[in-house]
Amino acid sequence: METTRLIMVAVGGQGNLLASKVLGEAALISGVRVRMSEIHGMAQRGGVVESALVFGEATSSIISDGEADILLGFEPSETLRALNRCNKDTKVITNTATLPPFTVSIGKGVYPDVENIKALLKEKCAGLVAIDAMKLAKEAGSPMSVNIVLLGALIQSGSLGFSKENVIEAIKRRTKKVFLDKNLNAFDLGFVAAQNYSS
């Protein structure tokens, strides 16, 4: 597989680490080499967290600014903030449900308009899929499954070349049994939402 660099950005606690574990397992099942790096520690306490996944031949485990082939954003303002990780050929998939930081609620910043975020991402990158993953996660039965909804959208985009079956198997292996049905439901809802998305 030709080297493919995926960046996932999220707010601490949104489950980007679990999403990268599932993708790592899917790579193992599909016989694709992958190296991943993630940020732990205090950033998780509601700060910005990022995972980088390098699929294929390259041996570095992190991704430099401007070199992401795919950007998966769990929160729209964080997707926009991660533009510096992208180039004009980057495919972007983002959640549109907002999580304004407390700096906004204490008047230390203005939350950008989501439609403007979508327009900017579309203008600067090579393709956008924008879905309300929180609405779909609640539909799937748990607001905590936003990460799996977004995985569904990512896999549907086809840029990783993993089959749906391999990713579902990875979900079965790496997520808690008690949430399995909700997660599989969330994955499908994300997959279908991305399929129907024509910006």
Partner: protein, 616 residues
């Protein structure tokens, strides 16, 4: 069964770097492990802690890194394979035993791991701990990838037993917190009981003894140099007139760069994995037919300085560069694109980096610093101390834990932090040197770690300040590890002692000791005010479990609150405590019922009593 205890050689599994390191210790038959938690090392000990509950592996969370290293030093001198892990600044705490243990040596294999943190993802500095190996005369191994971290752990124990020396395994965040496929190896049996053989001429480091030990230490390092000269962990890749000498994760950035730039045919790369003592002959031989050499290493010029010295000895005049204004910095971590650019520039290779996206029409995105969780007891305590000290000119030394975040607006409670435990000792200094009122904050885990000695000093030297000990019953910041004050039965573990901090503080001779329940706002403010007015050392114990920890132990039944229509929108709640469960919707404050824990602090702050429990 714990996945890392699985005896299935050849099995391939996706592992976090720290999991691979823990697996390496298990495969090497490590029988004894000690630590104090610290990012980016904490998942190593978390896995060993879990495995110790399912096997005869001994593991303990020691009170701090000095204690951990001394406990480990005893086990390693009783013939047991022993592993002591910590974050980089932890080695500063453990430096005293570290330096002299090098003289004494070990009888069982001992590995000391320092997890460095270039770019300070979660640390107060980015010191380069490779110098501890040179400073202390210990062999050092540095992995470049997750699978290699496991292999080096295995080899480190053999190397330690061959030299009868502790071995420093030095990693960085991008090893500890990367994931990759790792292949399980065979597992050596653990020898869990040892025997200490009395050897006063080796183990009692009085001057007469240590003078002999220092001679032997240098002999051991000579032997280690011989091993480093022929080590498989110091490979040369490729051939050509361009020379690159590299360590750690930069190795992969260089490998990818050389391939991307298409100069594999002209470039040879020496990767130093067994990097102390430096392999002198190997390096001189490598330099001999190079036209130009580039040294790529995050942090200090550790290798560069040694390589230049070897070149001088070998009478070589070829350019050797690394740290400079135009090449590599001593600051932060490196990344693939930056390394690619520097290699291209240094060796004169045609290269145009990818065009950057223009971001001039992108609106300013609000900052999102980490924040204390919803229902955090620290937030309540900071608010109450701030109210109680409203009319005072205060200095607030704080310490290292989640509560360090108290320094951020709107709380702004935290003025001085340099290392763990410094809150208490610096309070002595500020209280003596100024007439300002000193109020310091320290977590319960940090207090056990290195706060007690400062408090003893305060009582003895009759200093004047108020110390707030934030008793949330866990080591929260690094992932809710236990500490000596934790109720271990709650975790289903028995056989542990438990130290009551209030009794300890009184036993140290502190006369003014009070306890507050931070979720009782008014009562707490009154108690705090009284303590602030006491002349001398006063200690306040703020007792409330960490909300995240209590939720994980199912001790907390969240009952959400809501803003009722009695709200007149003066936003006192949001502006004074900024709990992440608040959000603003068409100009009005609202509470997110999914994340509100029900601490009710905001309800008690609101002058209109407009915040009430949400009826489900």
């Amino acid at each position: 069964m714990h996945k890392l205890l699985n005896d299935s050689p050849g099995k391939q599994i996706m592992l976090l770097g720290n999991e691979a390191i823990a697996r390496g210790a298990i495969e090497a038959g490590c029988a004894f492990a000690t630590t104090y938690p610290g990012t980016p090392s904490s998942e190593i000990s978390l896995n060993l802690f879990q495995m110790s509950q399912e096997s005869d592996l001994y593991f303990e969370y020691s009170t701090n890194e000095k204690v951990a290293l001394e406990v480990a030093a005893a086990a390693a001198n009783s013939g047991l394979r022993t592993f002591c892990m910590m974050k980089h600044v932890g080695l500063n705490v453990a430096a005293d035993p570290f330096m002299t243990l090098a003289y004494v040596g070990v009888t069982g294999g001992m590995v000391i791991l320092s997890a460095d943190d270039p770019s300070m993802f979660s640390s107060q500095n980015e010191q380069d701990n490779r110098y501890y190996a040179k400073f202390g005369n210990l062999p050092m191994l540095e992995p470049s990838s997750v699978p290699e971290a496991k292999e080096m752990m295995r080899y480190a124990f053999d190397l330690s037993e061959e030299l009868k020396q502790p071995v420093l395994l030095r990693t960085t965040t991008r090893i500890n917190h990367s994931n990759a496929f790792v292949t399980f190896g065979d597992m050596k049996p653990r020898q869990t009981k040892g025997k200490f053989i009395r050897e006063p001429l080796r183990c009692v480091t009085v001057p007469a003894v240590s003078r002999q030990l220092h001679v032997k230490l240098l002999e051991k390092m000579n032997k280690a140099k011989g091993l480093s000269e022929t080590s498989d962990f110091n490979p040369v890749k490729g051939s050509g007139k361009f020379g690159i000498i590299v360590n750690g994760v930069s190795f992969h950035y260089a490998l990818d760069a050389v391939k991307d730039l298409g100069i594999e045919g002209d470039t040879k790369i020496l990767r130093l994995g067994f990097s102390n003592p430096m392999p002198e002959k190997l390096i001189k031989n490598f330099l001999k037919d190079c036209e130009k050499v580039l040294v790529i290493e995050e942090g200090e010029a550790f290798m560069e300085e040694a390589v230049k010295a070897f070149a001088q000895e070998a009478g070589l005049m070829i350019p050797i560069n690394g740290k400079s204004e135009t090449l590599f910095s001593r600051l932060s971590e490196y990344d693939p694109a930056m390394v690619r650019e520097k290699i291209a520039a240094y060796f004169g290779i045609e290269y145009t980096p990818k065009e950057k996206l223009s971001v001039d029409n992108v609106p300013e995105i609000p900052m999102r610093p980490p924040n204390l969780c919803s229902g955090c007891s620290h937030r309540a305590t900071f608010y109450e101390v701030k109210q109680a000290a409203r009319d005072m000119d205060i200095i607030c030394p704080t310490d290292i834990g989640c509560y360090t975040l108290g320094f951020l607006p709107p709380l702004n409670m935290g003025d001085f932090v340099i290392c763990m435990g410094s809150s208490v000792s610096t309070s002595c200094g500020f209280g003596q040197a100024t007439d300002q009122k000193v109020i310091s904050f320290i977590g319960d885990s940090t207090f056990f770690h290195s706060g007690i000695t400062g408090l003893v000093n305060a009582v003895f030297n009759n200093h004047n300040f108020t110390l707030v000990i934030l008793e949330n019953g866990t080591t929260a910041m690094t992932g809710h590890q236990p500490h000596p004050g934790v109720d271990m039965e709650r975790l289903g573990l028995d056989g542990f002692g438990r130290i009551n901090i209030e009794n300890l503080v009184r036993a140290l001779g502190v006369e003014h000791v009070s306890v507050i329940k931070p979720f009782k706002v008014k009562k707490s403010i009154e108690t705090i005010r009284e303590a602030l007015e006491y002349k001398g050392v006063s200690v306040i114990l703020s007792q409330e479990p960490c909300a995240l920890y209590a939720k994980s132990l199912k001790l907390l039944k969240p009952r959400a609150f809501k803003v009722s229509d009695k709200c007149v929108d003066h936003k006192d709640c949001v502006n004074s405590i900024a709990c992440p469960s608040f959000y603003i919707e068409d100009g009005r404050v609202k509470i997110d019922a999914d994340t509100c824990v029900g601490c009710a602090v905001c309800a008690q702050i609101c002058p209109e009593n407009a915040i009430t429990p949400l009826k489900k």
